[in-house]
Symmetry: C2
Subunit: 316 residues, 2 copies
């Protein structure tokens, strides 16, 4: 039996702070409907897909800050998305800011099955940015201030039976640059990685070496290489364009286990990319005796530093 899934990357353009939740949800539902009409069974939305990327500002008023978080999922603000997806029998990945009953805040993503049930939940482990505002920067990156580090690690899960029940992993944005995260999922047999991102198109402290072109290159390179190293399909989806005055890269891609791009977004706006993932193709890289047959080739006795050290310790 063929095990395959038609997946859509639903890139969005910017979501301005002034946009209402209802308007944003309308856009996500419109993308979902188009993806479904094109045959997609699963739609991947960006990180923090329901709001603007609020960590770019120092927000000291907690009540104001709270407006960006979801206290439950689903909730009345986004129930329509769940309902429409279930009607269409299309699952989805959605990133959002989570505020738990205990008052903990996480940068979170869920994967929802075609029946509307939550199949997996992930809390971002590799929070970029800083705890305190960086002096002189007009736009900040305060994820370390507004979120706690994800506490659940990297737990693979099974996609829906009608998708071929692929073993799946989720990451969020900056996580995709950390090979450790991909490997932890691949060691659980991951066949499909899904992730959303909001990545600044420039670094205010990076000078000319950091621009839209280089940062898009880095994003795509990370998806291609980690898909190849782990013999997995990967879908990486941007919130793109100029959002509240700050530029975000696009470059959403669907990548096969050879690291080859199957589909790539061309715009910085709402745009759907679509491809079929035949999970048997993972075996070309990971099958018995192949290059990425981990059990045959890995040598963990030499990898100790990866868990024994946090930072670099330069030799004398």
């Amino acid at each position: 039996m063929t095990r395959s899934l038609i997946v859509a990357g639903c890139q969005t353009g910017p979501i301005q702070r002034a946009d209402g939740r209802a308007q944003t949800l309308d856009r996500l539902i419109a993308l979902l409907e188009i993806a479904a009409a094109r045959g997609a069974q699963f739609a991947v939305f960006p990180e923090l897909a329901l709001t603007t990327f609020f960590p770019r500002w120092l927000i000291e008023n907690t009540q104001e800050l709270d407006t960006f978080y979801e206290r439950a999922m689903p909730n009345p603000n986004c129930q329509r998305l769940f309902d429409r997806a279930r009607e269409l029998r299309v699952g989805f990945y959605l990133g959002y800011a989570e505020l738990t009953g205990e008052g903990k805040r996480f940068n979170t993503a869920i994967t929802v099955g075609p029946d509307g049930a939550i199949l997996g939940k992930y809390r971002k482990v590799h929070l970029p940015g800083s705890l305190e505002p960086r002096p002189g920067n007009h736009y900040q990156q305060l994820e370390k201030r507004y979120f706690e580090y994800g506490d659940g690690g990297f737990q693979a899960f099974r996609g829906a039976a009608e998708w071929g029940a692929p073993i799946m992993g989720m990451l969020i944005c900056n996580d995709r640059r950390w090979p450790e995260a991909w490997r932890c999922y691949a060691l659980q047999g991951m066949e499909l990685m899904v992730l959303g991102y909001n990545s600044a198109a420039y670094d205010p402290n990076g000078g000319e070496a950091e621009n839209l072109e280089i940062r898009t290159f880095h994003s795509i390179l990370s998806a291609q290489a980690n898909a190849y190293f782990n013999a997995t399909f990967a879908v990486a989806v941007a919130k793109a364009g100029v959002e509240d005055g700050a530029g975000l890269i696009g470059g959403s891609v669907i990548v096969d286990p050879n690291g080859i791009i199957l589909a790539q977004a061309k715009t910085l706006d709402d745009e759907i990319i679509i491809a079929e993932c035949d999970f048997e193709k993972c075996l070309q890289g990971r099958g018995p005796g192949k290059i990425f047959d981990f059990g045959f080739h890995r040598r963990p006795q030499h990898y100790g530093r990866i868990v024994e050290q946090v930072g670099a310790e330069p030799i004398p």
Copy 2:
């Protein structure tokens, strides 16, 4: 003070089994002299640079097998290379088959300083291929038969003072596809990775999905992505072309810490690529608070599987 090094990748074309050691050494010395004349201070040669890639054959006669190995380094067979390099004050990376006094066999590389002293030695950890010949394959990949797994792990070392004393790492061929190996060096502060390879241009069992183009893409992707993830320069150098009837990829590259290719070989023959590595550029990626400031961002408490598991253990 600027800390920089002009490095040459000295790709070689095929070294046929019928070629004598003296003839092969002449070629390496010729490349070294051209590199030096172009200003290079350090030359990177391929894996197993003194002979044909003998693991493609089943060689059951030990005396015959032994002719491919070096019992000391340097030794009379390659002393001329060391002498000429010292005269030119050019260091080099050289891959060779090592046979120790205890009869152990390793796929080994050394880095030699401008004064002819060996600065570092590395024994390949990720041996590809198989222990037994694969039935029906005209060409084999018997590295697991002819070599023991490298026993020294990944030990960074300092390059020469006149190179800016960069922290260096070495890998060999298939190692470059394993992010664990790069990370272990980067956690020691690596600024320059050097590696040589002999990579088959096709997989006899891979079908149309494995060809020269895809395999060259994989090789370059591995160098670019791992250089970027670790904010390091990287030099990856091929033995290329049709060697004793079997095709080897080229695609030698010098890559900067942004993952951008500074120089790339165009042929499948003896060819020199050259670039300057300014090691201060590593700080753009790894400086305090930057994306790859490991101490600021890594979360090893979630990476346990990387050392606790060898093979993939698919979830139910």
